[in-house]
């Protein structure tokens, strides 16, 4: 197990070099001079040139890359050109918002997705099966942008149950501890803020959960159906076990491995920040920040940000791989 872990961690390094190179090339090859974009209409030749020099853009591309990678190895992701803030700090100030939203969305997605999948598989071919799969297909195909606006119109305007956007009402003050507002409100015992933070979380979490929920539901259904055809299920049924117990205790646990892969992948995607959801709901997370960085060709912010998120994504998948062994004792990583 330990050898496997070390091997996987060692394999991380070339992956990260590859990612860094790809990100670096992409942001440097797209059209648009960062200096020019930053200065806009007011750019005069001298200022553009001195800004280019200051940002190191006048050096050859490979020299720029080596500098960037050398800094990364020293743990320095660089400074945002736009704000002159370290990229690490920029990310740290937005990450909690993204994680909080991701956790809320994934909770809804996993509960909803497993439920729908179970329901569909246990009533295969019936109306319930069709209805839940239609719902899952709808979840994948409805544009998030549209859904988000509809949720706002329905539940924040027509029926003003929830706030329109943001993380916390402007008039409320909650001294952050962890920067996870729900948790902070509990830790501070600030119950009004807790309700407010949850209310703010509700609509964006629902909007964000639809795609992962649909993917999880479909995967759960298909892998459950596969497992339900196995001999040991027939044996369990033959022993006279209740159908529900067979489904939950025997089938679901084994069918869960492919579903777990999907959950880990979706979790990784969402952690990268959901640009559309964050934009519509004015949620101060990573997606919006990264989008703005790309738009303004803040190449240092993009390089550092994407590299960090990609590493996180790889680590989450590693964690999922390790979980397989725990779920299914037949999976061993000794060799």
């Amino acid at each position: 197990m330990l050898a496997y872990l070390l091997k996987r961690l060692a394999a991380l390094l070339p992956t990260l070099v590859g990612i860094s190179l790809a990100v670096f090339l992409m942001i440097h090859l797209v059209p648009g001079d960062p200096a020019q974009i930053m200065l806009g209409e007011r750019a005069d030749a001298q200022t553009v040139e001195s800004l280019r020099r200051e940002m190191g853009l006048d050096r050859p591309l490979h020299v720029q890359f080596l500098h960037f990678f050398g800094d990364v190895l020293r743990g320095d992701l660089g400074r945002s050109i736009r704000t002159q803030e370290t990229v690490g700090r920029e990310i740290a100030s937005r990450f909690p918002a993204t994680v909080e939203l991701t956790l809320a969305a994934m909770t809804i997605a996993v509960l909803g997705g497993l439920g729908l999948g179970l329901l569909a598989a246990s009533r295969r071919g019936g109306p319930v099966d069709y209805a839940s799969m239609v719902l899952a297909t709808a979840g994948i195909s409805v544009p998030v942008f549209w859904l988000a606006l509809m949720l706002i119109y329905a539940f924040a305007t027509a029926l003003p149950l929830f706030p329109v956007s943001g993380r916390l009402s402007a008039h409320l003050h909650l001294e952050p501890i962890t920067h996870f507002y729900v948790l902070d409100a509990v830790l501070r015992g600030h119950w009004v803020a807790l309700g407010d933070a949850l209310a703010h979380l509700a609509l964006p979490a629902v909007a964000l959960s639809t795609i992962p929920m649909a993917v999880i539901a479909r995967m759960t259904r298909s892998s459950l159906l596969e497992v339900l055809g196995e001999d040991y299920i027939r044996t369990a049924r033959a022993k006279g076990m209740a159908a529900r117990q067979v489904l939950v205790r025997h089938a679901l646990r084994n069918a869960f491995i492919p579903t777990l892969t999907v959950i880990a992948l979706e979790f990784g995607y969402l952690l990268g920040g959901a640009i559309i959801t964050e934009t519509v709901f004015a949620w101060p997370g990573l997606g919006r920040w990264l989008f703005l960085a790309v738009q303004s060709r803040d190449f240092r912010a993009v390089q550092g940000g994407v590299l960090l998120l990609a590493s996180l994504f790889v680590l989450i998948n590693l964690a999922a791989d390790l979980l397989y062994a725990w779920l299914d004792p037949r999976i061993r990583y000794d060799r």
Binding site: L39, T47, R79, S165, G166, A170, L194
Partner: protein
């Protein structure tokens, strides 16, 4: 009651309480399209940063609440030497920075000196003193010093009539030397000025909170707290305003104007801004080297239709490069009327009876002076086609677009300008003087007129307003005669507020002052 319902109840009650109309007391929440970049007035270059700095910092001289006429602020009075070179400012002695340190001539010397003296300990910063460079201050100023605690002096290299107006701009604001010393580059996150509000808290992309400066030297602000909230999606921002969770927002998208006007809980504010949107014809490329062709294009475009269709009426057709509210605008210049027949006759006279093929370049992004550049380009394209000019639309990504037009690769291009100090020099010299036609050029018509150059240089040197006015009127006549542009529109600024917000006024320069704003309850 079992556990679950009880827990649900515990969560639901405060949730419902939170959704009830919040009691915001003396707090005003202002929505805007994006967050500030930083809060050091000398380092920033974007409107969202200045919007906050306007309330934290103050300058020696400022503008009147609704015009660009000058008024004393941190300087009680000033005088200039006989040779028009040395300006002496007599400062207020009752002003303190938010950190309690005193504002005096040494603090002023620090604030401007860090941008000017290359050997100043705070001259090297992360970022750049953009505006100082932009406004060419190193070429304007020869030296500066504190004569005593309350007297600050600046010596210019040559007489410059625009100098005082420039001093009213954000980058010339007084910053606390103690705070800059303490925070260094971090001053952008811990701003300390002398303004009516002081900085309290900033959660990036979420909220930026200012609180009233109770030790303010002048009339204190009404509001106890002023919160800036970035909301990127304009329709979501509007829903927040309708619901009352924000009190105001600026830069309304045109399609929301009618909805604001129809809602009795809201008020719409508009103000002619210091902007111009224009169509530049590249005089280095035929046939635009021919004045008759340029006149034909001027007669072919229906500016009023652009105003009606794309600005919801919140703009005026442009006659001159500078907006009519700006001091120095020449009202006597007769606009080229929309007249397709005359345009066709002019083309025939120019030897192009069948018109010609060309390209019309437009910006890929909305700008304050042109909210829908692609649709405006389509309308202009149709107008031109009607007189025989077949213009192919061309778009590039924003940075590339600027690169290429500054390099003169376009035959015709849309662009615009926003002035910041209310002086005609900041439009005419920067955009149309022959010195600005060197690549990469701001003068994207590549219009090189010696008579205009002489007039503009003279106007900057002269200090008496009468002479300057005469010179700027003459400059606009020359430009109108040569027609390097089609000046299209001057867009108005817009803002929407809840009906109970009193005392907010839009300023021509885009400054957002909240000191006189209060909530009527």
């Amino acid at each position: 009651m079992t556990g679950w319902p009880r827990l649900a109840g515990a969560l639901l009650l405060p949730l419902l309480a939170a959704c009830a109309a919040p009691d915001q007391g003396d707090t005003l929440v202002f929505g805007r399209g994006s967050d500030s970049v930083g809060l050091d007035p000398a380092l920033e270059g974007d409107g969202e940063s200045f919007k906050v700095c306007d309330n934290l910092f103050e300058t020696l001289i400022s503008y009147e609440p609704q015009s660009t006429a000058l008024r004393p602020l941190l300087a009680r009075s000033w005088e200039v030497s006989a040779d028009q070179l040395t300006w002496t400012f007599h400062l207020r002695t009752d002003v303190r920075f938010h950190d309690g340190t005193a504002f005096d001539a040494h603090a002023m010397l620090f604030s401007l000196g860090r941008q000017f003296f290359a050997d100043h300990p705070h001259h090297q910063v992360a970022g750049a003193y953009k505006y100082w460079k932009d406004m060419g201050m190193d070429d304007v100023i020869e030296d500066m010093w504190a004569a005593d605690d309350s007297t600050f002096a600046v010596r210019l290299r040559q007489p410059d009539a625009t100098f005082l107006s420039t001093l009213g701009m954000n980058f010339c604001a007084a910053v606390s030397p103690a705070a800059v010393g303490q925070h260094g580059d971090g001053f952008r996150r811990h701003p300390v000025g002398t303004g009516p509000f002081r900085f309290a808290e900033w959660r990036r992309d979420e909220r930026l909170v200012l609180v009233r400066n109770d030790q303010y030297w002048g009339e204190p602000a009404f509001l106890k707290r002023l919160i800036f909230r970035p909301i990127q999606d304009p329709s979501v921002a509007f829903l927040e305003l309708k619901r009352g969770s924000i009190h105001g927002l600026d830069n309304l998208s045109p399609e929301l104007i009618a909805q604001v006007e129809a809602d009795t809980n809201l008020q719409l504010l508009t103000q002619p801004g210091l902007t111009v949107g224009y169509l530049a014809m590249n005089m280095d490329r035929p046939p635009f080297d021919n004045r008759l062709v340029r006149l034909a294009v001027n007669c072919a475009i229906d500016k009023q239709a652009l105003v009606d269709n794309f600005y919801q009426g919140l703009a005026v057709p442009a006659v001159n490069p500078i907006p009519p509210i700006m001091w120095g605008h020449n009202d006597a210049v007769e606009p080229y009327a929309y007249d397709p027949d005359r345009a066709r006759r002019l083309l025939a006279e120019a030897g192009l009876p069948d018109g010609f093929e060309t390209e019309l370049w437009s910006m890929p992004v909305p700008r304050p002076y042109m909210p829908q550049p692609d649709r405006i380009a389509q309308a202009i394209q149709a107008d031109l086609a009607a007189v025989g000019i077949r213009a192919r639309p061309v778009q590039w990504e924003w940075g590339t677009y600027l690169d290429k037009i500054f390099d003169g690769q376009h035959p015709m291009a849309l662009l615009g300008w926003t002035g910041d100090n209310g002086d005609p020099h900041s439009f005419l010299y920067v955009l149309l003087d022959k010195t600005a036609a060197q690549r990469p050029a701001q003068n994207i018509s590549f219009y090189r007129s010696d008579p205009l150059h002489e007039v503009l240089v003279e106007a900057r040197r002269r200090s008496d307003p009468e002479t300057r006015l005469r010179l700027y009127h003459r400059a606009q006549e020359i430009i109108h005669e040569d027609a390097p542009w089609v000046p299209l529109v001057h867009a108005e600024q817009t803002a929407a507020f809840r009906a109970d917000v009193r005392g907010f006024r839009l300023h021509p320069t885009g400054i957002k002052w909240f000191r006189g704003v209060r909530l009527a309850r």
